[in-house]
Symmetry: C2
């Protein structure tokens, strides 16, 4: 389950989750390195390495005299992944915000990619869209193709800022949803419409059209995802009862 198998990473992970769970008030003093070393039965060096990671995440600020906890929403974007994996079910509000934000970035990427693509790249995109149209593959199996398509768009658009943002959100999100068995029920007609729009926009080299199609798609995805999470939540509630 854990990321790296080193002690310092385990400590960092553990403390990170505690902070994200709001177990410390913002501004509160963080336990001393010596105390943490005792608690985790580790050396101070290992603890210090963990703390320097937390500091890089913007979760704590250290000073001679004591470290202090920072408010979560002044942290680095890199905490978003862990934040969504805190509980057995991701926070629906957060998921919705994620999709909304990711949607506008995806739309921007699509627009720029299609507007700046050369002839060869347009052919490549067209090919990828054709593969996405293949009806004999189920939603799960389609994921790698979608990722490939988005990756190609991103490479053509060549916007480092968007790419860096995406890195911090990366596969974590989709993977987690898959793992939890949360599958948004997108209507086939909806997907067809998106693919059709993409096809047209590529043919016409009309980035604006692709952007709008992408935005619309993410709107539908948000609704579907919200429903899917609600469904999963009620499932879990039943199991408990």
């Amino acid at each position: 389950m854990s990321s790296s198998n080193t002690i310092s990473h385990e400590i960092a992970e553990s403390l990170r989750d505690e902070i994200l769970r709001q177990q410390y008030r913002s501004g509160e003093r963080f336990p001393s390195e010596r105390d943490l070393a005792a608690r985790f039965d580790a050396s101070r060096g290992a603890v210090r390495e963990a703390l320097s990671q937390l500091e890089q995440l913007g979760l704590i600020r250290t000073q001679p005299g004591g470290a202090r906890v920072q408010s979560v929403d002044s942290a680095s974007l890199a905490v978003l992944g862990p934040l969504m994996q805190l509980n057995d079910l991701p926070n629906p509000v957060l998921v919705d915000q994620f999709l909304e934000t990711f949607g506008v970035l995806a739309a921007l990427t699509a627009k720029n990619a299609i507007n700046t693509a050369n002839a060869e790249q347009l052919i490549q995109l067209k090919e990828l869209v054709v593969q996405l149209t293949d009806e004999s593959v189920d939603l799960e199996g389609m994921q790698p193709r979608w990722r490939e398509f988005m990756k190609t768009l991103s490479e053509i658009a060549d916007n480092l800022v968007v790419r860096l943002i995406s890195n911090d959100l990366k596969a974590q999100f989709v993977d987690q949803m898959m793992r939890l068995g949360i599958r948004p029920d997108l209507k086939k007609s909806s997907i067809k419409r998106l693919l059709s729009s993409l096809r047209v926009s590529i043919n016409k080299k009309d980035g604006e059209l692709a952007s709008e199609a992408m935005l619309e798609h993410f709107e539908e995805l948000r609704a579907a995802m919200s429903e899917a999470i609600g469904l999963k939540a009620s499932e879990i509630r039943k199991m408990v009862v």
Copy 2:
């Protein structure tokens, strides 16, 4: 000039910049901790703390046997600030991408803020826009008010994802531009138009309108900024000659 005054931070900063300057090929072996300790005349512990920060930034990956450099565009968003401050003049392409990306996020924020704001918040926004309309203050002095306005929008929109993204870009950008004396020459009429649109959108509670105005504004800002950087570049070139 440096951030923190601790040795480990200085080492991290130094190595970070070297990687961002592409002084190591991606995938290349990174110098050993013992070598780095000797080079910086520091203890291995200090070096290890620095390396764990670089790892958190996604710039290196460490393993028993040796650390390896990762490609910059697979790093964390937090490298963007340092990336723009590498040279005496920021990379214009990067600045443009930054503004483009930030623009769509700002537009999204404005849309959601105005659409979800309650009566009291609308009044507050209206008040802030009025303050921005004050003609007796120069562009420089207006900055804090703009920041206040954007911050309020962000709080009303209440999208943690966007906020986290903004954290990693934060004041760094504007501050650096100010420090370098790069001042985009936005026409007064352009700003007036933006403020007027914002006023109307607040009155009508029409988020979409605000979003479009914001997008348009950032388009103009991109053009102006590009020009300003070009101007500064030629200035510097003259000084050298």
